[in-house]
């Protein structure tokens, strides 16, 4: 079992706590002048993203989490799993619904995603920051209305629904920021 000493703690390090993998966000050295030294860490649960605070006695060892972040290409989904391919080994990894939860609605195929593997299995999948998707359904555009600031829902080819300005037409290609789920602009063909 690989372990880390508290002296190796730094932001980004992946450790195990209560059988869950965590990433260190902030590591702080705390020591009363005459007292015990501690490492106080803010850590992010890699399964659910929740950030908590914990403290170790300095000098202790902590189990390392077998976590890897890899760029992988999204291939297809068969209804149960979403399949991703490691670009260097060409190995394929099935990701379950929980892992792709936030990313799936932006993926149509061939996108390069950041896949976090835990013990060899996809734990989370992050869609590319920006994707270009076609509108399959929206109300007819209001020509010339580029200034009123109003918006309407538009359904994209992946099924995701985003808010778009009123002048956008059915069938147009849009650039979307997947981190906020917001329309960025028209994509050039």
């Amino acid at each position: 079992m690989a372990t880390y000493s508290t002296s190796e703690f730094r932001a980004g390090l992946k450790i195990m706590i209560d059988n869950d993998p965590y990433a260190i966000v902030v590591n702080e050295f705390v020591k009363p002048g005459k007292g015990q030294a501690f490492n106080r860490v803010k850590i992010r649960n890699l399964k659910n993203g929740r950030v908590i605070e914990r403290t170790y006695k300095s000098g202790e060892s902590v189990e390392a989490a077998d976590v890897l972040e890899l760029e992988m290409q999204y291939l297809y989904n068969d209804g149960d799993s979403w399949y991703f391919m490691d670009q260097t080994t060409f190995e394929q990894y099935p990701a379950d619904k929980a892992a792709v939860e936030d990313a799936a609605k932006w993926l149509k195929g061939e996108e390069i995603c950041e896949v976090t593997l835990w013990n060899g299995t996809p734990l989370t999948v992050a869609a590319p920051n920006f994707v270009i998707l076609q509108i399959t359904d929206t109300d007819p555009g209001l020509r010339g209305d580029t200034a009123s600031g109003g918006s309407k829902p538009a359904t994209l080819e992946t099924g995701a629904v985003v808010k778009v300005p009123l002048f956008i037409e059915n069938g147009e290609l849009l650039k979307i920021d997947t981190r906020t789920g917001e329309y960025v602009g028209r994509a050039k063909n």
Binding site: F29, K34, G35, A37, R54, Y56
Partner: protein, 319 residues
């Protein structure tokens, strides 16, 4: 070319440091307190279980074998030898060295003001230190006992409550290890949950510490034994630590031996006991109180800085 050759502290702070040192010296001069110097390198060092000394190798041209000399974590042993020899009140502004300490509030090398006042107890020294602080426009201080403070924050009585209860509270506050000794639990709860809230409106002296945290302080005679020790907190930062000093050589030796036993158990390096210091205690250390002040942290307080690097010319990463 990288910018790491430059000092971290800006010119204003470098100048301010010089002013602070000058003010300390003028305060001491006004009270007839003698400035002294003692060795930074010595054959022995503290046995304190939570302090790590740097070791260096001394090659004496008149001796065949090399010898380990320790960089001092504080000048207190040497200064107490001076007190025993009859110097009267003394102070020193010196560099001290503590291995394995590095963070926003710690640099392994730092500046300490160490000050001893024969005939004082810890309360009188708090008073005198407050007068020094007024030189830096640091206003009137408040005082509270460790016991009252701890109970206010946690509902537990730190001197008497069950260690298991402290353990449960520490766990609730996020400590990830079990079966810790009492002193570690108190350190954790105090440093994580109490200290950060202290001294925000006015500087706060906390006094009379639990017996297990006595270090070099004497124990009170009262029904509940407490260590006659104090610390000063300003904006959550520990600025100073003081003792009504232990003068009993036998008890001091026992505390050293306890430390060494603990070090052995934890497989920490063995350390020679400072025989000169013990001999001085046997000869007779006058009743006195002493205080150690982190000068860098005092500067942080004055400048409102949150990182010790801001007040150091070249912190360890640039040293």
């Amino acid at each position: 070319m990288s910018e790491s050759w430059r000092p971290c502290a800006d010119n204003k702070v470098i100048k301010l440091r010089a002013e602070v040192l000058a003010k300390i010296r003028s305060f001491m001069l006004g009270r007839n307190i003698l400035e002294v110097e003692t060795p930074v390198l010595a054959h022995a060092t503290v046995t304190d279980i939570h302090l790590d000394s740097f070791c260096s190798t001394y090659s004496n041209p008149h001796q065949k074998t090399d010898k380990i000399l320790y960089l001092q974590t504080s000048p207190e042993y040497a200064m107490k030898r001076l007190l025993a020899s009859g110097t009267g009140a003394i102070y020193q502004i010196s560099r001290v060295f503590r291995n394995k300490e590095h963070g926003k509030l710690h640099n392994p090398e730092f500046t300490m003001l160490e000050w001893y006042q024969p005939g004082y107890d810890h309360h009188q020294l708090m008073q005198a230190f407050e007068s020094l602080l007024s030189f830096f426009d640091i206003g009137q201080c408040e005082r509270i006992s460790y016991g009252d403070l701890f109970t206010q924050h946690t509902g537990l009585e730190p001197h008497t409550c069950d260690t298991v209860k402290l353990g449960r509270l520490a766990q609730k506050y996020g400590l990830l290890s079990n079966g810790e000794e009492r002193s570690v639990l108190l350190d954790f709860i105090f440093s994580h949950k109490i200290a950060p809230t202290l001294g925000n409106s006015k500087p706060l002296f906390v006094y009379d510490y639990p017996e297990c945290q006595s270090a070099l302080a004497r124990l009170s005679d009262g029904r509940q034994k407490v260590a006659e020790r104090f610390e000063l907190f300003i904006n959550g930062l520990e600025i100073a630590n003081g003792f009504h000093e232990l003068t009993d050589a036998d008890e001091q030796r026992q505390r050293f031996e306890q430390d060494l036993l603990f070090r052995k158990k934890k497989k920490r390096p063995d350390i020679p006991i400072d025989r000169y210091f013990l001999d001085a205690l046997k000869y007779g250390l006058p009743e006195c109180a002493g205080i150690a002040v982190g000068v860098d942290r005092l500067l942080m307080t004055i400048t409102g800085s949150e990182d010790i690097c801001d007040v150091l010319t070249f912190p360890i990463a640039r040293a």
